[in-house]
Structures are given as C-alpha cells and as structure tokens.
C-alpha cells in the first residue's frame, strides 16, 4: 500500500490522497473479508488454492540462472547496438553527456530484464506444474530463447508495422502465445525423454550467472543515476 501511495504521489500529488483513501478502504475490506472467507468452507478451498499457486514460485537457486540468461540477452543486444550509436554520440556529447546516456540505457535494460522475467514467472504460474515448474531452469531458459528469437524476427522484419488491422494484430498475438505453449509442451516431453536436453539448457543458464553479478550492479547504479537526475 505504501508503494502504491508513493508511486501515485510521484505521478500526481492530489491523486495520492484519493488513492490512499481507496487503498485503505480496500485493505480494511480485505482484512475483514479474508478472515471471513478463510473460516468459511468455500474460503478454505480458495485459500488453499492460492497457497498452491504460490508454491509454484521457483526457489532462488532456480530463479537466478533464468534471470541471468535474460540479462545476458538484453544487455548483449543493447551493448551491440550501442557500438553503432557511440560514434555519433562522441560527435555531439561531452564525456559526461555520454556517461548519462549510457546510464539511461543500462537502467532501461535492467527494467526490460525484469519485465521479461516477470513474464516468464507468469507463464510458470499459468502452465501446469508438469509442463514448466518441474523443469523451471530448462523450460525458463528455453522460453527466454524463444522470446529472443521472436523479438529479433519482429525487429528485422519490422513486422508489427505491417499488421494492417486489429484482427491481424490479435492473430499475431495468438500465434505468439500458441508458439510458446507448443514449445513448452514439446520441450517438456523431450526433457522427460532425453535428460541430456534438460542438462544442456541448465548448464547454459548456469554459466550465465556471472553476467548477473556484472549487469545487476551496473543496472542498479544506472537506475540510481537516472532517478537522481530526475527527482532532484
């Protein structure tokens, strides 16, 4: 609730009072209702269902390799493209200016990594345990690779601009979701049948952890610089 109020206050101060009031009322209602629900027969099942879903969240040891793989792809692409941009930056920005530009770039890269990571976690929560959670590192890594390939296809084909109407946009989104689903199902089958597939993917993800130790601190420092430049 505090985070919600903080964000609202930063965006639109008069709004924070309304958000604060509504959030407080909502929390109060939830507090009262939760106790009522838990103690009722239906509420008990609902509560157990929630706990079951939450138990699908992977352990820290499983989350780190997948997040590291995401960081590797995101930062590698961004740094690669930055090599093309820096010559023009050198012409028109001072060294300090380039430092700030790079800070913005790395801050956004960290946010982008968290965004994709959240998407992977969402897929994990939605899909059955047998399809995803039980081989989280391998399946998560494969999902990251699939999303990267999709992103590169979109980028080089400039595909989204070619979608002529909302129907085509919806179809594209559906194809994307279906492709991820098919990949999850097929890979789950393959991993259960051929352990080597799973171990190779886990080994790749495991070797990416070093990038987390580099990119996360860089991203956090960059984010701090961006926040300081905008809030102070």
């Amino acid at each position: 609730m505090s985070a919600t109020l903080g964000i609202a206050a930063m965006i639109y101060p008069p709004f924070c009072f309304l958000v604060g009031a509504l959030t407080t009322i909502g929390c109060a209602a939830f507090v009262r209702t939760k106790k009522a629900i838990i103690l009722s027969p239906y509420g008990s099942n609902w509560y157990n269902e929630c706990m079951r879903v939450l138990s699908k969240i992977p352990t820290r040891q499983e989350l780190l390799p997948v997040f590291s793989l995401i960081l590797f792809f995101v930062y590698s692409w961004t740094i690669y493209r930055m090599l093309f941009q820096i010559p023009s930056w050198l012409y028109s920005h001072s060294k300090t200016g380039i430092f700030f530009l790079v800070a913005y770039v790395f801050a956004v890269a960290l946010i982008e990594s968290l965004f994709l990571f959240g998407f992977i976690l969402l897929v994990n929560l939605i899909l059955p345990r047998r399809l995803f959670r039980d081989q989280f590192i391998a399946q998560g890594s494969l999902m990251v690779i699939a999303c990267t390939i999709w992103a590169l296809i979109l980028k080089f084909q400039n595909a989204s601009s070619g979608l002529r109407n909302l129907l085509e946009v919806s179809a594209w989104i559906l194809v994307f979701i279906l492709s991820l689903l098919i990949i999850a199902v097929v890979s789950s089958f393959l991993m259960q049948r051929y352990q080597r597939v799973k171990s190779v993917l886990e080994a790749i993800a495991d070797r990416m952890i070093i990038f987390a130790w580099i990119y996360v601190p860089v991203g956090l420092v960059s984010l701090a610089i961006v926040l300081v430049r905008n809030l102070i």
Partner: protein, 521 residues
Amino acid sequence: MKSSINRRDFLKLASGLMLTPMVSTLPKLDIGQSYPALNTSMTIGSELTSPNVIIILFDALSALNMTTYGYPRNTSPNLARFAERGLVYHNHHSAGNFTTPSTASFLTGVYPWTHRAFTYGNRINEQLVPENLFSLLKSVYYQVAYTQNLFADTLLRQFSDSLDRYIPLSSFSLTGGTFYDKLTQKDSYYAMGSLDDFLFDQEEISGSLFLSALNDLISTITLRIAESKYGDQYPLGFPKQPKTKLAFTIDQVIDGVIQSMAHWASPFLAYLHFIPPHAPYRPHRDYQNMFDDGWEPVEKPVHPLSRGTLQASLNRNRREYDQYIANLDVEVGRLFNHLEESGLMEKSYVIFTSDHGELFERGMQGHSTRMVFEPILRVPLFISVPGQRLRQDIYTPTNTVDLLPTLLHIAGLPVPEWCEGTVLPGIGDVSASRPTYTLEAKSNSTFEPLTKASIALIQDQYKLIRYLGYSGAPHGYEFYDLQNDPEELINLYRTHPAAKELQATLDQKIKQVNQPFIKAS
C-alpha cells in the same frame, strides 16, 4: 465468527491513513506540467501595449515549390493571398540544411559554427543558452512555443525557462507519445537521446530487444484504432512526426492551435513549428490526384555527393510533396482566416517561414544530404506588418540569423553585438552588401574545428559552395551566378572573377570560426 474489526485491524487501518499526508511530502515527479502556468498578471483581453508576434514555420518547405515564388504548379494559393498584404523576401536562405542547425540559428541569431548544434538532436553550446530569442524578449511578450519536430523540441526545452507556455510535442496528435515527454521533464535531453533516439528508435534498428517490440505493437494497435476513425481520409497513411510514432491530421493540429490561442495573454510571441510538408508526404485524399499535369522540372546532372536516385523517382516524390504543400496551404489558409476574423492579424506581426527546403534533383531526394543547393536553402519568408495592406517585394539576400535581430527591433530592444544577423530590410534599413552563410556539418564533431562540412556563401547574386573534407566532392568549390543561372547548372568557379574574392572571404571566415577550437601545439 466475529463480524467487527478488532484492535489489530484498527491499527492497520490507522497506519494506512497516517501514511497519506507523509507521502505527499516525497519528491514529486511532475509529469505533464513542469513549466510555468499561465501568467495571470497579463490578463487576457487587457489593453494591447505592443503588437503580438506570431511565427508560423512549416518544416522542409522549399520556396522554389511555392506559387508566390513562381513555381509552375499552383501549390500555395492561400499563402500567395497572405503574401499580397506583406513583405515578401525572395532571397531568404536557411542557415543550415536541416532542422537542428537552422532552428538553432533562428532562435539564437548566430550561425551554426557559433551555436555548435551541428547534428540531429543537438543542443546549442550551453554558454549561449541565456542569449536566445525567448530570454531576450521575455520582458516584452507572453511567450508560447510549440513544435511537432523532435529535434526542434530539444532546442525549445533548452530554452524552456524563458517560456510562459510550452505546448508539448505530442499535443494535437492522434496516437502515441514520446518517452522523454511522458516519463521525464527534468532531464529530457538525455532521455530523448537514449530512449526515443536509440532504445525505442522508430526509424533504425532499436537498442532495446523486447520493450521496443512491445512498444511497436502498442503503437500499431493505437494507430489502427485511429485509422478505423479517420483512415479513409488518408489512404497513404496518416502524416507522421519523424523519429516518432506520433500520427496526426493537419486540420486537427491547426484546430488545436487555434483553440489554444484563446488562452494566450497579450502581447504574446508565439513560435509555432509544424511538421508538414516534411516527409513522409501523406496528403489528405482530396489532394492525391493533384498535379497530374505531366510537368517535369529541368533535369540536372547527378551530383557525386548524392544517393543516385533516378529522376523518375524524384519527379514522383516531388509530385507527392507538392500535393502535401497544397494540403497544408488550405489548412494554413484557415489559420490565417482565423487571425483575420479574430482581429489578431491587425494586431500582430505574422511571420511565415520554414527551417529549410527539400531537394528533388541531382540524384537526391530530401534534406539528409551534404548538398547545399537552392531548393534546400531557399525558404519562404513573408511578414505581415500591422496596418500594411500592399505587398512589398525584397530581393536583398537574407538569412535565418536575421530573424532574431528583426524581432528585437520590432520589440524596441537593442540588437546585441554577438548577433551575426542584421535587421531585415523592410523592417529596418537596407544593409550594405554582406555575405550570408549556410553550414552543413553533420559529420563534424561539435567540439572540433570544421574539417568535414559543406558551406555556402551567398553575397549579392553570387553563391560559392565549399566542400570541406568530403572525398566525393569535385574540386572542393562550386560557384554560381544565381541571377543568370537560378538552376545552378553552370559552375563558374574557374572562370568568374568574383569567385576568388568570395573564396578569400569564405576561407577567412572558416579560419576565424575554427580558431577557438584549434588546440595550442
């Protein structure tokens, strides 16, 4: 089961309520209103102490494609009508061959080698920021600025402290927005350079892997929704603000500006910089069959610095450009009608111009070029003076850098010595023959002397072009007699007696402007 709140629940509620006033003391990120609000001390409708100044600027509008300047196609009858009541400058040249240097010269009154905004999205030298149009005129006018051009917006934000009302770039647009505009107001220069110009670049391969794809998808969705409402009016697609996904219709932008005018205190200075007819050329459907007349311009030899575009393609693009001009001419006509009907025309200096032109010859289309020929440098300049009814034509060569001293003269303020322009003839006295310059230096560092640039010197009827550091340029110099050879077909560098004189002037000038950047050995 208890139905009432117990002590623990009450304490949770109370702590939440207490947080609310504490949160309001946190630093706020003001999105949407970080510039000073309307200055209520200059009340609307108060007695006018001096005329308003309305600067209407259309991006990439070449004088040579306009009716007033003798273009064979009747592209701009409304602008011709406006010109009939004012000063018409026939030899007005931009100080740069694209938006950033030219607009910076307009707003600072100095040439690009002084303000150093050489390339796309550059800002001017920080030391010159206090010396700009808005800061110099702050004491006289209520100042309003609006642009649809991302690069011009960078400059306006640099001068924002002097503005009374800044209208954001995405105003009056149908779709989308820019990241630097939506997310951050305080650090917009670096936000624009990193987010809009790199990570989420709409025209090059962007630096973001996933979020840019999502951004593109969202932009496409919003655009398709807009098209479902207005798409039939624009079969070629909506006009678009370059380097963004901002789509707009010209009529809605003009309507938005007209509505905004009602809230400006008098006397005001309004800088209004519209994107049309900048590419992409997407006129309304009513204009798409215009100029199917078979007319073709004089074909000129392909220049070594061009992209080698075929003449047939150039002619086709030129026709679309002319259609776009015809479209915007009608909308500008509506704006002028509003100014006349509201009485603002009689109470204002109305200045119509452009930041640079557009090229459709010598194998090159557009203005992203190293070339500095007339179609890209000659821009319209009409000035309607309060009380003036008859047209006055002025043929003295003038330059973008002359607009700042002219505006200072109109406001009754002295022209600073550092200003490199002079008061325009017709407003001030006719000045003696003097050289005016245009500089293209996209590939030259802002912090280094000029070693890679195209420079045009225009004096009287003569034009000297120097290509500095470009290996493809023939001989390094070109010289034209614009009066006898307006199409710039005959290079007289080796034969004309005035060429050497102008060369000496230009070389001396280059040496002078490079001096501060030459490191002591």
